[in-house]
Symmetry: C2
Subunit: 408 residues, 2 copies
C-alpha cells in the first residue's frame, strides 16, 4: 500500500468541528487504500497561549522547559484527532514526536532533525492504524523533548514522508496553493499547478509565506513531492517537485516581494584586501543574514560597501557595523529603511537574457527607479522604493502573466 503523509496546520484544527472535518478527509484518503500518517499542528492560537503562560512566569523562560510546555499543544490536537477517527470506527493512534522516532540535536526551541527511527510508525501502520503524529517536536539522545522552531510541523511532515518512502507529502492549510504573486497586491494572481523546489524556496524567502523553507529544502534533498492545498476545499493545490522536463524550465513562476529590507552603506572604507571580511564576519557571527552586497569601484583608495539585510535586523546590524567602520577608518555609515525588493522567480532564467530585459522595461514603463539589482540562477531581484513596490508587483505580473498558466 502506498504511504501518504499529510500535515494539517493550526487553523485547520482550530476547534472540534474543524478536527472532525479533517478526520473525514483523512478517512476518505485511507478508504481509497492508502496507509496514512498525519502530522498535526497545535489548535489555533494554542502555541501563543502557552508562550504567554510562560511569559507570565518569567521574562526569559528556560528553553528546555519551554520546549516541553510548547510540545503539549500538538499532543492535545493529535489525541483529539485520533479520538475523532476512532469514534468514526477508523483504527487510529496518536504518537508524540518521541514515539514517532523523531530524533533531534539538543538546540532547544530550534532543534534540527538528525534522523527518524520509524519502527513504531511502521508497526502501527501494519496494525491498520491511521497514525497521527504531534508535529513540531522531537526528542534528544537524552530523551528530552525539543521543538523544531518556525515551520516545525511542515518539517516533521516532510522528514517523515522521506523516511517512510511516502508517495507524496501533502501540506494542508488555509491557502489553496502557491500563487503567482501576493493576492493582496495582485487580486488576479494565478494559482500554480506545479513549481520546482528552488523556485518555491525563492518565493518563500521573498515573501510568499505558504510553506516553511526548511521543509521545502528537505523535500528537495530527498526528492519528496510536496502538495500544498487547502484543508477546507477540494480545489487542487500546487505540487512542489522536481521539474518534469527541459521544455518547461525557461519561464517565470511568480512575482515575489518583501518589505522587510534595509540597506546599509559603509562610505569611504579603505580599498584593500580584508575590508569585506572585516565587515561581514562580525555580522555572520551575530547570525544576521545579508542579502545583496555591492561594492562600488574605488577612487582614491577608498570604496563604498553597500549591503541589504532584514529591516528587523537593522538595529543589531548597525550596532555591529558602526564600531567596525570606525576601526577601518571609514567616513561614515548610512542606512535606508524605505526600500523593498521585487523579484521574478523562474527556473533557468539566467540562461535566457530576455527575462531581465523584460523585467527592467516593465519597471521603466511604470516609472520605477531601480536602486540595486541582484540575481541568482532562478531569480532576478530589484531593490526599489517601498512606496512603489505594489505598483512594481502588478506591472511585473501583467508583463509575465502568460507564463503562469501552464499544462498540468
Amino acid at each position: 500500500m502506498a504511504v501518504i503523509v499529510q500535515k494539517y496546520g493550526g487553523s485547520s484544527v482550530a476547534d472540534a468541528g474543524k478536527i472532525r472535518n479533517v478526520a473525514r478527509r483523512i478517512e476518505r484518503c485511507k478508504d481509497s487504500g492508502n496507509d496514512m500518517v498525519v502530522v498535526v499542528s497545535a489548535m489555533g492560537d494554542t502555541t501563543d497561549e502557552l508562550l504567554s503562560l510562560a511569559r507570565q512566569m518569567t521574562d526569559r523562560p528556560d528553553e528546555r522547559e519551554l520546549d516541553v510546555l510548547l510540545s503539549t499543544g500538538e499532543m492535545v490536537s493529535s489525541t483529539l484527532m485520533a479520538m475523532a477517527l476512532k469514534s468514526d470506527g477508523h483504527p487510529a493512534v496518536s504518537l508524540t514526536g518521541r514515539q514517532a522516532g523523531i530524533r533531534t540535536d539538543s538546540s532547544h526551541n530550534k532543534a534540527r532533525i538528525e534522523r527518524i527511527d520509524p519502527q513504531r510508525i511502521v508497526g502501527e501502520l501494519k496494525k491498520g492504524n491511521i497514525v497521527i503524529v504531534a508535529g513540531f517536536q522531537g526528542v534528544t539522545a537524552d530523551m528530552d523533548t525539543t521543538t523544531l522552531g518556525r515551520g516545525g510541523s511542515d518539517t516533521t511532515a516532510v522528514a517523515l514522508a522521506a523516511s517512510l518512502g511516502a508517495e507524496v507529502c501533502e501540506i494542508y492549510s488555509d491557502v489553496e496553493g502557491v500563487l503567482s504573486a501576493d493576492p493582496r497586491v495582485v487580486p488576479d494572481a494565478v494559482k500554480l499547478s506545479r513549481i520546482g523546489y528552488e523556485e518555491m524556496l525563492e518565493l518563500a524567502t521573498y515573501g510568499a509565506k505558504v510553506m516553511a523553507p526548511r521543509a521545502v529544502e528537505l523535500g528537495q534533498v530527498y526528492g519528496m513531492p510536496i502538495l500544498v492545498a487547502s484543508s477546507s476545499s477540494e480545489v487542487p493545490g500546487t505540487l512542489i517537485c522536481k521539474e518534469a522536463s527541459m521544455e518547461v524550465r525557461n519561464r517565470v513562476s511568480g512575482i515575489a516581494h518583501d518589505k522587510n529590507v534595509a540597506k546599509i552603506t559603509v562610505i569611504g572604507a579603505p580599498d584593500h584586501p580584508g575590508t569585506a571580511k572585516d565587515i561581514f564576519e562580525p555580522l555572520a557571527r551575530a547570525n544576521i543574514s545579508v542579502d545583496t552586497i555591492v561594492q562600488n569601484a574605488s577612487t582614491d583608495d577608498v570604496t563604498d560597501v553597500t549591503f541589504t539585510a532584514a529591516r528587523t535586523d537593522l538595529v543589531k546590524a548597525l550596532s555591529i557595523i558602526e564600531p567596525v567602520a570606525k576601526k577601518l577608518g571609514a567616513a561614515k555609515v548610512v542606512r535606508d529603511e524605505t526600500l523593498a525588493t521585487v523579484s521574478i522567480i523562474g527556473t533557468g532564467m539566467q540562461n535566457t537574457p530576455g527575462y531581465a530585459a523584460r523585467m527592467f522595461r516593465a519597471m521603466y514603463e511604470e516609472n520605477i527607479n531601480i536602486e540595486l539589482i541582484t540575481t541568482s540562477e532562478i531569480r532576478i531581484t530589484c531593490i526599489i522604493s517601498e512606496a512603489r513596490v505594489e505598483d512594481a508587483v502588478r506591472a511585473l505580473h501583467r508583463a509575465f502573466e502568460v507564463e503562469f498558466h501552464r499544462p498540468e
Copy 2:
C-alpha cells in the same frame, strides 16, 4: 542530604502567582539543605477542561488517547514551576512521568504503578537540580502514556518518596490537615497533629476527602511518613504515620460520615448454603463495592439478606440483584435511599469495649435510631437516617472531644 518529596495540588498551582508562591516555599526548603523532588498536579480546572475538549470530539473518548491528552495538564504545570525556580536562580528541571521512571501497567485511565526507575531523578538531584515531576502519569512497557486515575498525583508522590528513600512525603493542598470531623458539620472540628495510616484510610473512605486512599495505603506498605498541610499557610499539618507508641493506641481519632449510602434487602431468600454467594458474586463481578452485610436469623427456611453500597451504584446494583432474587425464589427486593453512615475511627478501639457503649449512648441521648451497626478493628459505624446524620456527627464529636487533643 535528605530527600524530601513534596506534592502540590491543582488549587495550589492554579495561576502564575500561586506557582510563584509555591516556588518560594520549595526554594526555602531546598536552601535549608534538602534534596527536593516536587510532584505537581495540573493547574486549577485544567483536567476538567481537557476532558470537556475530549467530550466535544466524542461521547466515549478512547482511553489511550485520553491519557495522552490528560497528561499534558501536568506537563504544563511542571514546566511552569521549573521556569519559576530557574528564573529565581535555583537550578531545576521538569520531568514527565516517563522521564521520572514511573512504569505502570497498561490499564489506561486507572493505571497502577508497577515500579519506579529513579536513575534520571537521582542524576538530576546529583547535579543540584530541584526535580519537578508531572504527577498523575506514567508509562507502560511499550512507552505509551498512562494516567493513574483518581488521586494519581498523591500516589506519584508517595511512590517516588518510597523509591528514593525520602525522609517524608509532604502533600500540600488547600486544607490544613486532617480534622476530627467534617468542619461544615462540626465548626469546631480539631486538626489532628498525627494519625495512623489505617485510621486515615477509614477516614478517607468515610468521607474525609483529604488524601487519596491508595496513596495512604502505599505509604503504609512502605512505612513512608506523609505530612498533609496547606500550601498557603505555615500552620503545621497532620502527619500520617505508624503509631508511635502503645500508649496512644486506644483513642478516637475522628468522626466520619457518608451520605452516599443505599441499603438493599433481599426478603425471603432460601436459607441454604450458596445464597450469599449467588447474591454477592455477580455484584463483585460488576465492580460494585458492598460495605455492610447483615443476614437475619432464618425462620421457615427463608432469610433476609441486607447490604449497603454506594448510593451512586444503586441502579446498577438493583439491575443485577433483581433477576438473581427472582432466580433464588426470594419474595422481593426492597431498597432504602434515605440512609447515611456515621463512624468513630480509632486505632485499637475494638479491644476497648467502652468506645462502642459511649457511641451508642451519645446516639441514644440525641434520640437517633440505629438501623445497622458494623465494626472493623479501628472503626465503629452506625447506619442511621440521613436526616439525622449531622446531629449524630456533632453529638459524637462532643462525646469524644477530649480525645482529639493529644501531645505532638
